[in-house]
Structure formats: structure tokens, C-alpha cells
């Protein structure tokens, strides 16, 4: 899985396109993706992964977004990456990824909301908010999974651990690196879903005729479509920039984390613009269960806040800028 990302995109498109859009988060497709090794991209083959790098993983996640699949490839691959220093992983591992767990007041209960697809897995890599990472078997005593879903009906379960915290992962990457990688993969997924939304909308306004001509010939419609494109180009640039920054800053120090925060802020804006504009341009056609648009827009409404809020990213970035001043901001922009 080297640099030929075009091939990677085609591989995923071929697999996913054969599945009806409503089933692109099914167990069956998940097994297929696992079988292809896509859930351990970015982990060395020597450690049991599929090889490839983090950029390959971002391509996988973005491409799944284009095809409206919400399967937790990002989380599976991050769990494998976090585990791989301590133990071997393989494509059959069924491990979820839970970030930023908070303890209840007496420290006896750790609670992590919004864990993707936890109910389907057998174990979970958990980072608590102090940065300790551990591996927890879900059938261990004191571990409970409360099923919840997001707006797109994707599992976002609550993990609750009473008592012991499982096996500490001594070699797990630092919390900041895990957070940055998770947030950037989410931004890449949003970029994909926004592109899928755009493709569907473009096709619709070019085919649908009103007033005796395709909708796209109405200047206000064309301008709205263009504003979606503008938002997409902006988000892709932000994601590329953050990928470059993380490549040069593996442990996600300030430079990497700041670039990821910028991408998260832009992702949130792009998601909102694309969902709103796509629905407007589709008119009533876009609001039915049958028409595929909602498979995209529900994800664009759900995903942005799930891995750190936009507000938090903006405050982090603004705080750095105010603390360090113009020269530091400028160097970060132009380096």
C-alpha cells in the first residue's frame, strides 16, 4: 500500500459502489473492508498491520466519505496503531477506539460517550483525559456498553468502566498525537462526505429541468453550486496542510495540533455550507427517505462535533495566536 493512492481510491470505490447506499455501513461491507486490510492501514506489516502510512489512511477515510459510508475504519486503524507498540494486531482484531474519557467525581467510574461501533467489538483502546492509554476487554467485569446513535443512525455508544482500567499500554503514542490523528481523519471523512454531497447535487441540477432548462442554467443555482465547490476546495487545502504538518511532527506538538485544529474549524464550516446548500438546490426531492441525499447530509450534520468541538478547536488556535503573537503565526503559515 505505497503511494499509489489513486489505486487505493479505485479499490474502495469498486467495493463500495456495489453496495446500495443505505447498506454502506453494514456488517457485510465491514467484513469486506477488513478482509482487504483497510482497517489496519498505517500500521507496519511487521506489527501485524497492512502497511502504508497515515496519508494512505486519510485517503481511505475520505474515499469512504465520498461514498456515504460511516464505517469506523479511522477508529479501527487508530486502535491498531495505538496497540501496535505493545502487542501484535491483525485484521481480525475487533477493537474500538475511545478518546478523552472522563472520571466521575470519586474516580471509580470512567465514562466515554460517543464511541463509534463499540457494541460490535470485543475490546477497546481507551485514552482517559489525563492521557493514560489502556486496552479493555468488553466482556470484563465492570465494563458496560450503552447503545446510542447519532443523527445518521450510526452507533455512538457510551463506554462505562467501573473499577480496574484493563491493561495499560506503555508504548501507546501520546494523547496529543492520538487526538490530532483522530480529529484529522474526521476532517478527511467530512471532506469526502462533502464531495459526495457535491457530486450528487451537481448531477441533480444539471439534469433536472425547470422553466424549460436545466436548473444549473439559472445563475443563482449555478452560484450556489459554485459556493459548495469553493467550500470543498478550501477544506481539501486545510486537510492537505494538516497532513503535511503531522508528517513533520509525528508526536503532534504545537505545529501539528494547530494545523489539525485549523482543518477541524474549516471542516465544520464546509459541512454546514454543503449540507444546507445541497438541500436547497434539491428542493423537495432531497427530503425523502428514498432519495440518497440524506445519507450524506445526516453525516455532515453529525460528524463535525464528534471529535472535539469546533468551538474548542477555534479557541485552541486563537489562544496560541494570542499567546505567541504575529511572528509565530506567520512562521506557521509560511513554513
Amino acid at each position: 500500500m505505497s503511494d499509489d493512492r489513486g489505486e487505493l481510491r479505485r479499490l474502495i470505490a469498486d467495493v463500495v459502489d456495489g453496495t446500495p447506499i443505505a447498506d454502506r455501513s453494514s456488517d457485510e461491507l465491514w467484513h469486506t473492508l477488513r478482509g482487504l486490510g483497510l482497517t489496519t492501514v498505517g500500521v507496519d506489516e511487521a506489527s501485524g498491520g497492512s502497511g502504508g502510512d497515515y496519508d494512505d489512511l486519510a485517503t481511505v477515510v475520505r474515499t469512504l466519505g465520498i461514498h456515504a459510508s460511516g464505517l469506523p475504519v479511522a477508529e479501527a486503524a487508530l486502535a491498531a496503531w495505538a496497540l501496535s507498540g505493545d502487542r501484535a494486531v491483525d485484521d481480525r482484531s475487533r477493537i474500538a477506539f475511545a478518546m478523552d474519557g472522563g472520571y466521575e467525581a470519586d474516580l471509580s467510574v470512567l465514562r466515554v460517550p460517543g464511541v463509534p461501533w463499540l457494541r460490535n467489538e470485543s475490546g477497546v483502546v481507551v485514552y482517559d483525559s489525563s492521557g493514560s492509554a489502556s486496552y479493555v476487554e468488553l466482556d470484563a467485569p465492570g465494563v458496560t456498553v450503552h447503545p446510542e446513535v447519532n443523527l445518521a443512525d450510526e452507533p455512538r455508544d457510551v463506554l462505562e468502566i467501573r473499577g480496574a482500567m484493563g491493561v495499560p499500554l506503555e508504548s501507546a503514542p501520546p494523547l496529543a498525537a492520538a487526538r490530532a490523528r483522530h480529529a484529522l481523519l474526521r476532517a478527511a471523512g467530512i471532506a469526502g462526505a462533502a464531495e459526495g454531497t457535491y457530486r450528487l447535487t451537481r448531477e441533480y441540477v444539471m439534469q433536472r429541468e425547470q422553466f424549460g432548462k436545466p436548473l444549473s442554467r439559472i445563475p443563482a443555482v449555478a452560484a450556489s453550486l459554485a459556493s459548495m465547490r469553493v467550500a470543498l476546495v478550501q477544506l481539501d487545502a486545510a486537510v492537505e496542510r494538516a497532513l503535511d504538518a503531522l508528517r513533520g511532527d509525528r508526536h503532534a506538538g504545537q505545529a501539528g495540533s494547530a494545523a489539525v485544529a485549523a482543518a477541524a474549524v474549516i471542516a465544520s464550516e464546509t459541512a454546514a455550507i454543503c449540507a444546507r446548500t445541497a438541500h436547497q438546490l434539491h428542493g423537495a426531492m432531497g427530503v425523502t427517505q428514498e432519495y440518497p441525499l440524506h445519507h450524506y447530509t445526516k453525516r455532515l450534520w453529525s460528524w463535525p462535533g464528534e471529535v472535539g468541538s469546533e468551538e474548542h478547536s477555534a479557541e485552541y488556535l486563537g489562544g496560541l495566536a494570542l499567546e505567541h503573537g504575529e511572528a509565530t503565526v506567520w512562521n506557521a503559515l509560511t513554513s
Partner: protein, 367 residues
């Protein structure tokens, strides 16, 4: 993507910073927003030229530096960051030089390019007319064949810096017909040619940058024709897409932004963060556009996107600065007012925001 010759680029950046620092410390310029259009200082431009910081992208045989667009981006973004007065060479360096390189005869290149690179030639743009603004193909200025060249009559308007210029780029009609995108031709005209006259148009800030330029039976020699007769539409749209994708499309109000960073309080963290996120992304887009140009591509959508988003950012910086200025220093309030009075031009010049969206839509809805 990896950055080619990054050591070379960083060396150029340092040279630009050194010169800017010397001039600023000696109070030879005041940092201002929009100074790439409003700050005219021939001495500063010639000093940049002496140090090899102009004409960066065209070949050495024409007085250029034979470097790439990424090198040019590094130098220009430092100049914009500082709010330095660069209007004397900006237009010639940005778009006339490249247009002459692409479409000019070898003689025309030899005649014009070294003068631009040395900042001896100051260019203005004779494009817009009273009845041809966003609809540039509606130009009426006529050039008719004459012995040894052409004779031109007509009026150009919003011609920035015509009162300082030594040369004007001229878009004129050489043929009348039903198809207005055909029959247009480009010329380069000396501003001291008999029959060229310049009248000032004072802007709402009380400053004089715009002019009306009248051509009354002006003779233009044959060798000053740029490209092909009647083929200017393609040439000029290409030139405009170069004009659009540069860092001046989002850094016009950067000097104000830098002041705001000094004055904003912790309650402004999120708002500052959102601006920084957009700024960082815009700069990446400018880098992408420069890299595409270096690779020989024509990044029309990316350049239009950059300008569209960049101008919105410039305006949002002013809006945000106005909020913080209420409790800031007089210097901040003054910088804010200056940028505000310049701001209506941002989303108009070089392609109005609405036109940019239609350009993007046209690219995107091709079957």
C-alpha cells in the same frame, strides 16, 4: 508534495525581510493595508529590483531571475505582510511581464521585460471602460490600422496608477462584429505618446489612485502589438487568472490583522482562531496555485476560489478589527478606518465575487 529548493526560497525570504526591516526602521514607509495598490514608491521598487526580488519568474536573458512561482510567492507574501509600498512594480511584475513572456515577440520581450524587472517601467492596466466593467468583452476603444502600426481612440476608466505609469497595457477592439469576444487585440503603449491624457478620479478615502485615460487618435507602432490580432480574449482571460491567484487576494488587510493580534483579549480567542484557520488555509491555496503554475497547469478554479475566499477574509478582518478597536489604541482605530475605506474594492477588482462564482460554475457544469 515537497517544496522544491526550499533553501533557495528561504534565502530570498530573508533578503526581502532584511530590506523591508531597514526601510521600516528608517521610517521610509508606514505599514498600511492595501499598500500593493495604494503605496507607490519607485525608489523602494527599484531597490527590490536591484536585489533581484522582482521579475523572479521570467528568464535571465530578459532581466528576470529564472526562478519559480513558489519563490515569487515567498517574496511577495513578505512584502504584503509588511504592508510595504509596492504599487510601482506590482502590476507589471504580476501580469504584464508574464503576458509579454507568453505572447510577446522576441523583440517585444527584449524591449519591455528588462524595464519591468528593473522597476524602471511602471505599468497600468487599460482594460475597464465606462461601459465595460465586469463585462470586459464590451470594450469599445478602437484601434484601426495605419501606416507602420495602429491608431487608437477611446476611453479607459478605473486605471490605477496611470498618473505614475510609463506604460499602459491596452485592450482594444480591432474589428467590430456580432461576436464581442472576437476582434479584440492587446497593445503596449507609452504613456507619453501624444494623444494620451490622464484625468484623476478621487476615491471615497480622498486618495488619488484611479484615473480616466483618454486616447485621442494615438499612434501605436506595429511592434507594440501583443500576441495575435483579434485573439486577445483568450490571452486576457489567461492573464486575469494569473492576476487572481496571488497572496494579495487575502493579505490586503494583514497589517491590520497583525495589530489586532496585539490588542485582542482572551474573550476573542475563538474569533481569532477562526480567522487564523482561514488565513492558514488560504495561504496553502496560494501555495497550491503557485505549485500548479510551476508545473505548467492552469489552476482556474483554485485561483478563483482563492480570490473569492481571500476577499471575504480581508473584509472579515476589518469587521473583527472594528469590534476590538473600540477598546484599542488610536493607532488601531486609524488602521481600522484606513482598511475599511479601502475595503469596497477588494471584492470588485480583478473579477467581482459574483463573476468568480460564475467562472467556477461554468468550469464545474461542463457536461
Amino acid at each position: 508534495m515537497t517544496i522544491p529548493n526550499s533553501a533557495e526560497i528561504e534565502e530570498l525570504r530573508r533578503e526581502a525581510r532584511d530590506l523591508i526591516g531597514q526601510w521600516r526602521d528608517a521610517a521610509r514607509f508606514q505599514p498600511r493595508s492595501d499598500n500593493w495598490m495604494r503605496g507607490f514608491d519607485g525608489d523602494f521598487s527599484r531597490e527590490l529590483a536591484k536585489r533581484g526580488l522582482t521579475g523572479l519568474t521570467w528568464p535571465r536573458e530578459y532581466g528576470g531571475q529564472g526562478r519559480g512561482q513558489l519563490a515569487r510567492l515567498a517574496v511577495n507574501e513578505e512584502l504584503l505582510r509588511a504592508g510595504a509600498p509596492v504599487a510601482a512594480h506590482w502590476i507589471g511584475d504580476r501580469q504584464i511581464g508574464p503576458a509579454v513572456m507568453r505572447h510577446g515577440s522576441p523583440e517585444l520581450r527584449k524591449e519591455i521585460l528588462p524595464g519591468i524587472a528593473a522597476a524602471q517601467f511602471v505599468f497600468c492596466l487599460g482594460m475597464s471602460e465606462p461601459d465595460a466593467g465586469s463585462d470586459l468583452a464590451a470594450v469599445r476603444t478602437m484601434a484601426v490600422p495605419a501606416a507602420g502600426g495602429w491608431r487608437v481612440s477611446g476611453r479607459k476608466i478605473w486605471t490605477t496608477g496611470a498618473h505614475h505609469a510609463t506604460h499602459i497595457y491596452l485592450l482594444a477592439r480591432t474589428q467590430r462584429g456580432d461576436r464581442k469576444h472576437e476582434g479584440l487585440t492587446e497593445f503596449i503603449v507609452d504613456m507619453d505618446t501624444p494623444g494620451v491624457s490622464v484625468a484623476p478620479i478621487v476615491d471615497l478615502a480622498g486618495e488619488h489612485h484611479f484615473n480616466e485615460v483618454t486616447f485621442s487618435d494615438v499612434f501605436v507602432p506595429e511592434h507594440r502589438l501583443l500576441g495575435t490580432v483579434g485573439g486577445a480574449w483568450r490571452q486576457v482571460t489567461e492573464q486575469l487568472s494569473f492576476e487572481r491567484g496571488g497572496p494579495e487576494r487575502f493579505l490586503s488587510t494583514y497589517p491590520l490583522f497583525a495589530l489586532v493580534l496585539e490588542h485582542a483579549g482572551p474573550e476573542h480567542r475563538a474569533a481569532v482562531g477562526r480567522l487564523v484557520a482561514r488565513l492558514a488555509t488560504l495561504r496553502r491555496l496560494a501555495w497550491n496555485v503557485a505549485a500548479s503554475l510551476d508545473a505548467g497547469a492552469a489552476p482556474i478554479v483554485d485561483a478563483a476560489t482563492l480570490k473569492y475566499l481571500g476577499n471575504a477574509f480581508e473584509n472579515d478582518v476589518v469587521d473583527f478589527a472594528r469590534q476590538t478597536a473600540r477598546t484599542g489604541t488610536p493607532a488601531l482605530a486609524e488602521a481600522c478606518a484606513q482598511a475599511l475605506l479601502a475595503s469596497p474594492g477588494f471584492t470588485i477588482r480583478g473579477g467581482a465575487a459574483d463573476v468568480l462564482l460564475s467562472i467556477i460554475a461554468k468550469q464545474e457544469t461542463r457536461p
